[in-house]
Structures are given as structure tokens and as C-alpha cells.
């Protein structure tokens, strides 16, 4: 097991090249699923969230976007989800073109449940919007709730659940469409560490179970090193990928992975890359 890191500056070498070089290292990495080429995002208030971002996500990846607040990692996720248009650059899907997205599941930082609806109605939502009847959807809803370990909470209201359980419902809702790509925007940032560790373990198992690709936004070096097959380290002002780190260890991993060299190497490299970026002039 080894970790490889390719710290680079945007001007020296595009991150996409690094990703393709790296592909041999990452476990389960397959054909490109989505490729971002020179993607920039400027908001109406003039803030540049992303500047010429290059990123290749491969089928089967567990890719973490790691960086400090304001580095545009959430924006990158929203662009990939199609929630916002990019100012410039291309987002190309393996299925062809910019609009032919595969089915996507999205998990926000907050559980974002509808407080007036029961757990099962919340999980039903994506299928409901896709035109399913509740009866047809019920087996899928039950499956998704079992996957996240809440099979007995179908009728519960969100307010009756703890923070960790709400997040599980939110993940079940994202999984109910059996997405091929799961986008997660700092989903566990607001949870206590014990719950977070538990959900990390469950998430890795889920990913293997579902066979989906995951893009996971986080600001935790340890979380990204524990979960990912690949880490894209991002820097602020402008938001861009400054290093890609492949972690060559099969998923799901277990607690003892935190003491292995692959994990420790990845932590060290991610940390170095982030510190390197902080030394450059464009970080405040």
C-alpha cells in the first residue's frame, strides 16, 4: 500500500493530467465519468469562486475535494450537480455532452429534510418527483432506509430524530434513486466525532454496496484520507486544485487503517499541500 502525491501548480501542470497519471494508483478507478476542463465560476458580486478548475472524476472513485473554507469546493460540487452554470469552461459527462448527467444523489451539509413530512415521505421525494407512485416506490424506500440502518423509522417525523439519524435519512433520500454518482457537501461537518466516525464507516460500506462514484467535499484532512481513493486538494483565491493524492487501499476500510502508512502518508501529503498553498501570496 502506498500513497502518491503530485503537488503541482496550475501553471506548471494541469491537474487533469495528474489525475490521468494517477489513475493506476486509485482503487476502483475506471473510465472518466465526468471531466471538468478550465471551469471557472464568478458570482454576480464579483467573487471568483473557481478559476480554471481541471478535474477528472473516474467511475468508482471516492474523490474528496479537500480545502479550506472559500476554496470553491462546494461550488465545484454544485456545478457538477447542475445547480448552477459555470461562467466558463467545460463539464463533460462520459454519457455524452454537458447535459447528459447520470442519476445524481446530493447530500447537503444540513440534513435538509422536510419537517412536515415523515421519514418515508422524505425518502420518497426524489422518486415522487420522478413520477413514481408511493406503492411502487415503497420497496425502494424500505431498501434505502435499511441501507442506512433506519428500517424501523419509516413513520417517524424528522424532529424525533437525532442529528446523526437525520443525516442518515438524508443519505437514504440520496440513495433511493440508486444514483451512479453521489455528491456530498460536508455532510458530517456538523456532527460529533463519534457519530461522524460511525457514518464514515457506513458510508464506505454503502459506496461498495451501491457501486456508485462519490465526490465528497470536506475540510478535514483525516476524514478525506480515511475515506477516499483520491484527494483533490484545493486552494483559495482563486479556487483551484493544487494537488491530487491517490490512496491505494481497498474500500471499505476499518479503524486500523488510521494507523497504516498509506493513511499517514496521505495525511502528511494533504497537509503539506495545504500548508504550501497557505504560503503563497494569494492566500489571505
Amino acid at each position: 500500500m502506498s500513497a502518491s502525491a503530485l503537488p503541482l501548480t496550475r501553471s506548471a501542470l494541469p491537474a487533469r493530467d495528474a489525475a490521468s497519471r494517477d489513475s493506476g494508483m486509485a482503487v476502483g478507478a475506471g473510465a472518466p465519468l465526468v471531466t471538468l476542463t478550465g471551469v471557472s465560476k464568478e458570482f454576480q458580486n464579483g467573487v471568483t469562486a473557481l478559476a480554471r478548475l481541471d478535474l477528472c472524476v473516474r467511475a468508482g472513485d471516492f474523490l474528496s475535494l479537500l480545502g479550506p473554507s472559500g476554496c470553491g469546493k462546494s461550488t465545484a460540487l454544485r456545478l457538477i450537480a447542475g445547480l448552477e452554470p459555470a461562467t466558463s469552461g467545460r463539464i463533460e459527462w462520459a454519457t455524452g455532452g454537458a447535459t447528459a448527467r447520470p442519476s445524481i444523489g446530493f447530500v447537503f451539509q444540513d440534513p435538509t429534510l422536510m419537517p412536515w413530512a415523515s421519514v418515508e415521505s422524505n425518502v420518497f421525494l426524489p422518486l415522487r418527483l420522478a413520477g413514481w407512485s408511493f406503492r411502487d416506490a415503497l420497496p425502494r424506500i424500505e431498501e434505502a432506509l435499511s441501507l442506512v440502518g433506519l428500517p424501523d423509522f419509516k413513520k417517524a417525523m424528522p424532529r424525533e430524530l437525532s442529528g446523526g439519524m437525520k443525516m442518515r435519512v438524508s443519505i437514504a433520500r440520496a440513495l433511493v434513486t440508486r444514483p451512479s454518482l453521489l455528491l456530498m457537501d460536508e455532510p458530517f461537518a456538523a456532527l460529533d466525532e463519534i457519530t461522524r466516525f460511525k457514518l464514515n464507516d457506513d458510508l464506505m460500506r454503502l459506496k461498495q454496496e451501491m457501486g456508485c462514484t462519490v465526490i465528497f467535499v470536506t475540510h478535514s484532512i483525516y476524514e478525506s484520507a480515511y475515506l477516499s481513493t483520491r484527494i483533490a486538494v484545493m486552494a483559495v483565491r482563486p479556487g483551484r486544485v493544487i494537488a491530487e493524492i491517490g490512496i491505494d487501499a481497498a474500500l471499505p476500510r476499518e479503524e486500523h487503517f488510521r494507523r497504516e502508512s498509506a493513511y499517514l502518508d496521505a495525511c502528511a501529503k494533504a497537509s503539506d499541500a495545504l500548508h504550501g498553498a497557505m504560503d503563497t501570496k494569494d492566500h489571505l
Binding site: L83, M114, W116, V148, G149, E160, S162, G164, I194, K198
Partner: protein, 290 residues
């Protein structure tokens, strides 16, 4: 395809969901506190009424100056045939006005939610109607409309604004991430409105409705008084004006009592509707236990 996750629910998860079961003694204390909470206002209120009766009797105050509560009740029973008809007239005005205000307010709020531009252009009208005292508008309306319609329009105008402004606020206060989710799954405007915005706005709307219920009554009464001498109105407020002219003070009090009771009843009814609709999920209506 299920994971083997034997103890997937974290210990803290269980602790938080398992309701705390207080001991019998604590439960008894809570029941007693609840009983006192209900009884105390009743006792205080009865005492105040008793005091009123006592003062009137001891001082021998004439009924045309201040009738005792017993006289008011007696008048209410004696004049019930007249007063009940007037009550029905006022109730009918209020109910129709509230119904129209509810439909109108919600429909216009939904239109506002579709476009900021429409909201900006039409909102001033709503504000003008709201800030101009209804008692000042009523005489004008009585010139243009027959008194029945004018009274209805007055009640409608005052009840309309809280529903419109609250519902507009509610429709605009949807969780942006939930809106993102609807967008991600390709929901159209209509489905977003029905499945997301409407339930989000419900607590706001119900808050507005509760205010509007009281205001519809006030609007109807004010307009009836304004129409009083001019029209052939027969609502409760008209009875008050009429009794005032005839110095029939006990009947004035009886009509006033009916108006008060109507207001209380309407408020209680709307509060109940609000509680029933929100009790499962909204913070404002959750059982606080004790």
C-alpha cells in the same frame, strides 16, 4: 442488499429519541401545575365579575348607568330573538369576509411568489389599504356601495393584508437547499409550489389567518357602526349604536358581550385549526409536556 450493521444506531441516537419518563411524583406535580394553570384564570375572572355585581348592588347603581352582570345576562336572554338575528348578520359578514380574504390573500401571495416584479408593483396597493384606517374608508365605501356590501368590503380589506403578507413571507422562506433538491430532481414550478413552498408557508399563513379572524370581526363592527345611522344594518354593532340612542345600556352590554364571545370563539377555532395542522412538526405547536 442490506448491510450488516448490528448496532448502527449510535447510543446517543437512542438516548435522544427515547422519551424521558419522569417519576410518579414529578408527574403528579406536573398535573397539579396544569390544573392550577387552568383554574387560576377562571377563579380570577369569576372574582372580577362578582366584584362588579357586588359594587353595583351595594351602591344601587341604576342599570342605565352601569348594569350588573346579572342584568346583562337577563337582557341577553330577554332580547335573544333580536340579538341572535343581529349576531347571525355579523357572523355572516365576518365569515364571508374572512373566506374572501383567505382566498384572495393566498392567491395573490402565490402570484407574488412567481415574480419579484409583480410583487413590487402590486404591494403598494396592499400597504395603502392596510395603513389607511378602515373607519376612514368606510364612509366612502358607503357612498359607492349599498351598506351590506360596504360592510363586507371593509371587513375584507382589514382581514386581507395579514394573510397576504404572512403567506408571501412564508412562500419566500423556503429552505434554499430543499429548493436545490427540487431543482436537482427536475421538479417544475407547480410541484415545487405544492410539495415544498405551500407546506413551508403553512405556519406563516395560519399565523396570518389567526390575526385576520379577529380583524374581520373588527372590520365588520367598525363598518356597521359607520353605516349605523345611514343604512338599514342590523348587525350587532348596529344594535349597540341603536341601544345607545335609546339609553338601553343593558342591551348595549349584551350586544358587546356577544361580540366579545364571537371574537374569542373565532380565535379559539382558528388556533385549534392551526394546532391540528402543525402539531406533528412545527415548533410553535409541539407539545411541550408540562
Amino acid at each position: 442488499m442490506s448491510l450488516e450493521l448490528p448496532h448502527i444506531t449510535a447510543p446517543d441516537d437512542e438516548a435522544e429519541t427515547a422519551g424521558n419518563s419522569p417519576g410518579g411524583r414529578r408527574r403528579g406535580d406536573i398535573a397539579r401545575a396544569r390544573l392550577v394553570g387552568i383554574l387560576l384564570p377562571i377563579v380570577v375572572f369569576s372574582f372580577a365579575i362578582g366584584l362588579w355585581e357586588f359594587i353595583v348592588r351595594v351602591n344601587g347603581i341604576e342599570p342605565f348607568i352601569l348594569p350588573a352582570p346579572s342584568v346583562v345576562i337577563a337582557t341577553l336572554i330577554k332580547d335573544w330573538s333580536t340579538l341572535s338575528l343581529s349576531l347571525l348578520v355579523t357572523l355572516r359578514t365576518m365569515a364571508i369576509a374572512l373566506l374572501l380574504a383567505t382566498f384572495g390573500g393566498v392567491i395573490i401571495a402565490v402570484i407574488f411568489a412567481q415574480s419579484r416584479l409583480i410583487e413590487r408593483s402590486l404591494y403598494p396597493f396592499a400597504v395603502i389599504l392596510q395603513v389607511t384606517p378602515i373607519v376612514a374608508i368606510a364612509p366612502l365605501l358607503l357612498v359607492y356601495l349599498n351598506s351590506g356590501t360596504a360592510i363586507l368590503v371593509c371587513a375584507f380589506i382589514v382581514a386581507f393584508f395579514p394573510i397576504l403578507s404572512n403567506t408571501t413571507l412564508g412562500l419566500a422562506s423556503t429552505d434554499p437547499n430543499l429548493r436545490n433538491l427540487f431543482k436537482l430532481y427536475g421538479a417544475g414550478r407547480w410541484r415545487e409550489l405544492v410539495l415544498l413552498r405551500a407546506p413551508s408557508a403553512l405556519p406563516y399563513f395560519l399565523g396570518g389567518l389567526r390575526i385576520a379572524g379577529g380583524l374581520a370581526l373588527i372590520g365588520a363592527v367598525v363598518a356597521e357602526i359607520a353605516a349605523g345611522s345611514a343604512g338599514h344594518g342590523s348587525g350587532l354593532a348596529y344594535r349597540i349604536v341603536e341601544s345607545g340612542y335609546r339609553l338601553n345600556i343593558p342591551r348595549m352590554f349584551a350586544a358587546l358581550l356577544l361580540i366579545s364571545l364571537t371574537g374569542i370563539l373565532v380565535y379559539a377555532l382558528l388556533a385549534l385549526v392551526s394546532h391540528l395542522l402543525l402539531r406533528r412538526w412545527h415548533e410553535s405547536a409541539l407539545d411541550r409536556g408540562g
